[in-house]
Symmetry: C2
């Protein structure tokens, strides 16, 4: 199967322009699973809960509808970040839409910094979904909690889709560890550019990357430019948890002795 | 407090020479916590269970006795790998001895490759002990299971002592992730040199390193030579799990949603 990322530079508050840029960027891509950045339709740095609510969209709103149509017509699986309005609540979500028309929603478990001011705390479902293979989803800061990727991998995810808006420098390197320790593929899609709002400036660090179950970086974007990269993988490699002929990284675990509450 | 490592080149099967080299190397060190490599008194590549049993020592044997005396006389905490004979069983252990004369034993939870042929599988105790601050111990391959370091950190360990005999290239980099995700200090002490026995050759990769809770490498040894490095740290930094003013990496965990069995 083919997996990839499209590292974009969202324009704050302009979903229409951001969706159009995604449609243009993906115009020639068929039959692939593509990850887009966290909050890629709205931008990131909200000034208030009110502003966030106004820019958030429900799951049947225009952004999901457009990207769902794109997935169907080009036989893609798309995983993209969305400010999701659900009644009175607003979640930092990742929506996955498949060529078959199915939709899968993950709401970020671990909110970062000012996200806590404006987004609601979700009851996350760490459950992989099927599209070509078993795909698990986590969002940006979720990476630093090893339990996130571990839970998804133990539930059978072979590829981790990881929409991000990274501002710190650690994650991209750490994804090698996440891939290795769980013997999964990881696709981290970060954004580029900066936002200056609410008296703060954030520079997003790009460097989206795809890592294989042996820790090899299969694709890597730069820190500043937009970038679309797609690689061919055998997801079966992630079913094999052996590190040596005598070590299976899942069977070798000693859960009876771990204390993780 | 002062923490460090002594990266050595053990001579296979010659505990007397290996202990003497440790005594010589540490002759001028006082009042520090020093980590030595895994199996640093015996070497690593055993040809048989019989050979291992013959070289293994009980906890009141000469190696522990000598290093315990060294710890007392120079006011050190020493953490070193030992092939531990316990009745009919042999464990890949790390023994820690303190200036106060106390002894703490950890038996490796996750055996690597051929270790499974000769060592017994332990019932590991992931429990930090106190000497200056709360110290947690793990051995070599334990690193790849994020639950090991996590369990120790959740139990209060501020510094992870990590005797190793690494032959793969991933661990040293990954320890930055382990330190960051748990906000702890880590001291990985690897060995150097190679062993050719039982039809196999292993080259040990050195590069022992100390990492702080923010992922900064405080000390780093080369890949080939022996090396003694000691740094001064404030273990209190590891008590503070905040990553931003709004993120505490332990309080932000969502254990109710993790499925780790």
């Amino acid at each position: 199967m083919r997996i990839g990322f499209m590292q974009t530079r969202p324009r704050f508050g302009d979903a229409e322009a951001n969706i159009r840029a995604i449609e243009r960027g993906l115009a020639k891509v068929r039959e692939a699973t593509i990850v887009l950045p966290e909050l890629c339709t709205t931008g990131y740095l909200f000034e208030s809960r009110r502003e966030l609510r106004a820019l958030a969209e429900p799951l049947d709103g225009p952004s999901v509808t457009r990207l769902r149509a794109l997935a169907r017509s080009q036989r893609l699986t798309l995983c993209f970040g969305l400010a999701e309005r659900a009644g009175r609540r607003v979640y930092n979500s990742a929506v996955s839409v498949t060529a078959a028309g199915r939709r899968y929603v993950y709401r970020k478990a671990h909110l970062f910094d000012r996200e806590k001011l404006f987004f609601d705390r979700a009851e996350p479902r760490f459950e992989p979904f099927r599209s070509g293979t078993k795909l698990g989803v986590m969002i940006c800061f979720d990476w630093i909690f090893p339990e996130t990727c571990r839970t998804l991998a133990l539930a059978g995810a072979r590829v981790i889709l990881h929409p991000s808006n990274l501002v710190l420098p650690y994650c991209q390197t750490a994804m090698v560890t996440r891939a290795l320790e769980n013997r999964v593929f990881t696709v981290t899609c970060n954004r580029v550019g900066s936002e200056s709002r609410a008296g703060a400036t954030l520079r997003f660090t790009g460097q989206s990357r795809i890592v294989d179950p042996r820790g090899k970086v299969l694709a890597q974007a730069g820190a500043r430019g937009e970038s679309l990269q797609v690689v061919r993988i055998d997801p079966g490699q992630a079913a094999d948890k052996r590190m040596t002929s005598r070590n299976d990284l899942f069977r070798d675990r000693r859960p009876r002795f771990y204390r993780l509450q």
